[in-house]
């Protein structure tokens, strides 16, 4: 029995990899019911009238792309299908490439025009100072958009002088930006806010749901899959749920097996 306690960890890595590959290649459906925090964001977007302004903060970089990019794409699908005006920006220097790719590819599918239906303001450092600046004057915080256009000339930003004119803000976060947006943006300039975050951050965000500081929350790839299922645009996140479920079962089996072996060998040693 004791040799199981000294099992080569590479065997575990290999079995996880095989499980992921097999469950990706084999096509089978698993139910993906939407949890309440995800449903809340969906309902919020559904309730916005056409032409409402939604700001998306792409606060992540390629290290969190696998979790947050599917969320961004699904959320953009929902916004563009509802004819909402989308304003993108980021606090992360590594995000502009990902944000631009997501916005352009989804906007093209709905024949949305840059400048009229959506705008990408790009990256600015400053974090809290930037949010306060945006809350006082959006054009002063971003005199130019990502492509160098004068932001005062863009039709999508007409009548949007500051964050007060934003109908909903959605922060896709890989770091502490959700807290920053809440403290320096939402609380001060009074706009509705939802968030999508990496799974690691998920548990830390639940208190903000309880206090209603966040309207809703998409946590990790599961949150993205639930949103894809809600808007009926099943893509990467939904197909990622098959290996996720299978591997979770394998890990649970490993944990139970490890504990059984540990307690059995301990009893044998004491006997």
């Amino acid at each position: 029995m004791e040799r199981f306690l000294r099992i080569d960890r590479r065997i575990i890595f290999a079995s996880i990899t095989v499980a992921v590959i097999v469950s990706l290649v084999l096509q089978f459906e698993l139910p993906i019911p939407a949890s309440e925090p995800v449903q809340e964001i969906y309902e919020e977007i559904e309730s916005l009238p056409k032409g409402s302004r939604v700001m998306i903060a792409f606060d992540y970089d390629p290290a969190s792309k696998e979790e947050l990019q599917p969320m961004a794409v699904a959320f953009l699908h929902h916004c563009f299908s509802r004819d909402l005006k989308v304003i993108g920006m980021t606090h992360y220097p590594g995000a502009p490439g990902l944000a631009e790719q997501a916005m352009t590819s989804v906007a093209n599918q709905y024949q949305k025009k840059y400048g009229e239906d959506y705008v990408f303001l790009g990256y600015k450092p400053g974090s809290a100072s930037l949010i306060i600046n945006m809350g006082e004057n959006l054009y002063s915080a971003f005199p130019k958009d990502f492509y160098g256009n004068d932001t005062t000339t863009l039709p999508a930003l007409q009548d949007v002088d500051s964050l007060r004119e934003i109908n909903f803000l959605f922060d896709l976060a890989a770091g502490t930006t959700i807290e920053t947006w809440i403290a320096f943006g939402k609380e001060k300039y009074k706009f509705d806010m939802g968030a999508g975050c990496t799974a690691v951050m998920g548990p830390d965000m639940y208190p903000f749901l309880q206090s209603k500081q966040l309207t809703g929350l998409l946590g990790g790839l599961k949150g993205a899959a639930e949103y894809e299922a809600l808007i009926k645009k099943k893509a990467n996140a939904v197909s990622g749920m098959r290996p996720q479920s299978v591997v979770h079962v394998i890990i649970i089996i490993f944990v139970i097996f490890g504990n059984i072996v540990y307690f059995t060998t301990r009893r044998t040693r004491h006997a």
Binding site: V25, P93, A183, E187, V200, P203
Partner: protein, 249 residues
Amino acid sequence: MRKDSNFFVLVGTIGLFVCINIFLMASGKLPFSFDGFGVILGAGLTLAIYSFLYKDNPAFKIAENLYVGVSLGYTIIITWFNFLKPDLYDPLIVPMFSKAATKAPQYALIFPSLLGVFMFLRFSRKLSWLSRWTFAFVVGLGAGVSIPRVISAFILEQIKPSLHPVFSGGETLFSSVNTLLIMLGVISVLIYFIFSVEHKGAIGKISKIGIWFLMISFGASFGYTVMGRLSLLIGRIQFLLRDWLGVLQ
């Protein structure tokens, strides 16, 4: 494994990777273009990074250092074009030195720019004292802006749901139980962190409940962490199977 055999494993793996790519390009599964080579580069770097799970090796080290270098270079370029050029160079430097400029220089930008330059004077023994001015400004401004907002958003707003009545009429039994659990959790965890009183008797029992609440929250966090790390693996394997090998649709 001996050093020689490690070398052969590495060379063999690289050889296999090259052969697969030649086959994919020859069969038309990967386009012979920048896009195709981009996918190959992405696949190669992904495999190089994951090769660490088998053993530390030169391919992993190359990929790791490349990642650090590329991200830093990318950050510098993005910061220049998105921030320094439109907010400092164009409104201050260009009008000062270019006769063709139509707008007057924004001299107000000199003050924050100087403060920024002072930060770098930490490296000079004679002038490092100037960097204290910048730090004083940053600390003073930061504290002034943050303290009221943080107290309001993270303490006062968080206390509100903790003080919510268990039965105020109209709520479901489930939400009442939830409120009760939150109240029990907050009180027991707070008592656990009171170290000036010995944890005996009633205090000891309540602090034990606090430990249980903490353990459950650590378990939830760990579960979410496992889910997050697996999502990253799934995403990379999706990329390898779909974009590189063309196995998935």
